[in-house]
């Protein structure tokens, strides 16, 4: 399997608080990797440093043989190779749903409006939101907004899809549809790195799981194995508290 993304010795502090204290891992083509861990363990920060939204203090981020943490790379072009969905407030409220989905294609990748919109409608149709294409995001439910944000992120065929706890701000009833879409994308071979608190989902969909605690990867392994037999004490503790609710 080809490695798409490799992170080496990644460190990041905010002031005196060390958030990431040496992270190493690889992401292969078509692989789905779940990042789990307590709040404040550095999951979101890790995702943001990977697509260069946060500058790093040390280490390297390699995207297909190129060191993208090198200050000489074009940051905007590199970011466009990733698709990102955040926890909330993803869509631009002043644009229609279709314009949201096609914005990056049109403005960053230079795709003509007609072509971008045809593709956008196809994606919206797929998530059952074609009828809402010309509406503004405030007319959509939270779950519909998140699904629209996901198709916006994949509209430009990114090399890696980064998902940052995309269901944690949602009404529990709306989580299912969003996860279903991610499951479909994973089945189609999208390379995904996702921070999540949905343990059952991570176990079913992810190929591998990284357990992050205190800014380091404490344990990693195939999803089913790690959930069934966590080796480290802190992983066991985390999973026990989670299953206890």
């Amino acid at each position: 399997m080809t490695t798409v993304l490799r992170v080496e010795g990644l460190r990041k502090s905010f002031g005196s608080a060390a958030v990431l204290r040496g992270i190493d891992f690889e992401l292969a083509e078509h692989e789905v990797v779940a990042l789990i861990g307590p709040s404040g363990s550095g999951k979101s920060t890790l995702l943001r440093t990977i697509n260069l939204l946060e500058p790093i203090d040390d280490g390297r981020i390699i995207l297909r043989d190129a060191d993208i943490s090198d200050p000489r790379v074009d940051v905007d072009k590199t970011r466009a190779r990733f698709g990102v969905v955040f926890q909330h407030l993803n869509l631009f409220p002043h644009l229609t749903v279709l314009d949201n989905v096609t914005l990056a294609s049109r403005k960053v990748h230079g795709v003509p409006r007609g072509v971008a919109e045809a593709r956008g409608m196809e994606l919206l149709d797929r998530i059952g939101l074609a009828a809402k294409a010309r509406e503004h995001p405030d007319r959509l439910s939270g779950g519909q907004q998140q699904r629209a944000a996901i198709v916006r992120a994949v509209a430009t065929d990114p090399e890696v899809l980064l998902l940052d706890e995309i269901t944690s701000a949602l009404d529990p009833l709306l989580v299912g549809d969003v996860l279903e879409l991610v499951r479909d994308l994973a089945a189609e071979g999208t390379t995904i790195l996702m921070a999540t608190h949905e343990m059952a989902f991570a176990r079913d969909v992810a190929h591998r799981v990284l357990f992050l605690d205190g800014g380091v990867i404490v344990e990693q392994g195939p999803a089913r194995e790690l959930f069934a037999n966590p080796r480290e004490a802190s992983t066991q503790e985390f999973l026990r508290r989670f299953s206890a609710g």
């Binding site: 697509n51 990102v84 407030l89 993803n90 631009f92 403005k107 405030d138």
Partner: protein, 286 residues
Amino acid sequence: MTPQHQDGPPPSDIELERRAFRRRQSTLSILVGAASTVAFAVIVWLFVINTPGWARVQDSFFDPETAVAAFPRVAQGFLLNLRILAFAVIGVAIVGTLLAFLRTLRGAVFFPLRALATAYTDVFRGIPLIIVLYLVGFGIPGLLNVRISHEVLGTIALVITYSAYVAEVIRAGIDGVHPSQRMGARALGLTHAQTLRLVVLPQAIRRQAPPLMNDFVAMQKDVGLVSVLGAIDAVRGAQIETAKFADFTPYIVAAVLFVLLAIPTIRLTDWVSARLRRREQMGAIV
């Protein structure tokens, strides 16, 4: 408001009785409101026409014949006000946005630009417009030693003053856009400039539409101040007619024209503000 049920059982007797009561109440309050408005108007009218100088004032401020005679020149001048306003609005939009943009720049490299923009808005929000008009109107021609028409100089002075106000309003709007919007745009690969143009500014301006339109209303009437430079606008035209007839009615004619110009914008501002408030209460960001 009575909810409209498409289906379901017909309203119960209790509900029907409540609705009848509410209807009676609202009819009553409309009647009381109308009666008190009429009573107030009558009292004011009686007071005014019984003041000792009313006959004199009526003659020198509200003389219909003078109004008709003065109207052509005042209206002619008013067209100049409208032309100046049109150019000034465009100028203010461009300069104001640019200043707001400069004030939001971060990083030590941009300190001089940022400081300059801050100093500009501080100074021109502080100086009375009439002084700016004199400085520009008599300063620039003296400085360049050329003849520039009064209209152009007046427009420049208006742009200088009002862009300082508008820049502050837009800057507040930019600061009010949630940082996640900026981050979302950068994550898509948009450049800093694209993010500002396509994501941040449209939201900032939408959010600030009421104060921006308020500044527009203020500018509509301040256009009348260009008359101090000698441009024959509505105010200057009224002044000339006043001198001719020895009667102040032409000023009232000009005032009415300015009010007629302002009312649509004021109503529109109310409507936009109300819509924005409704949408914000519904939970939309903008």
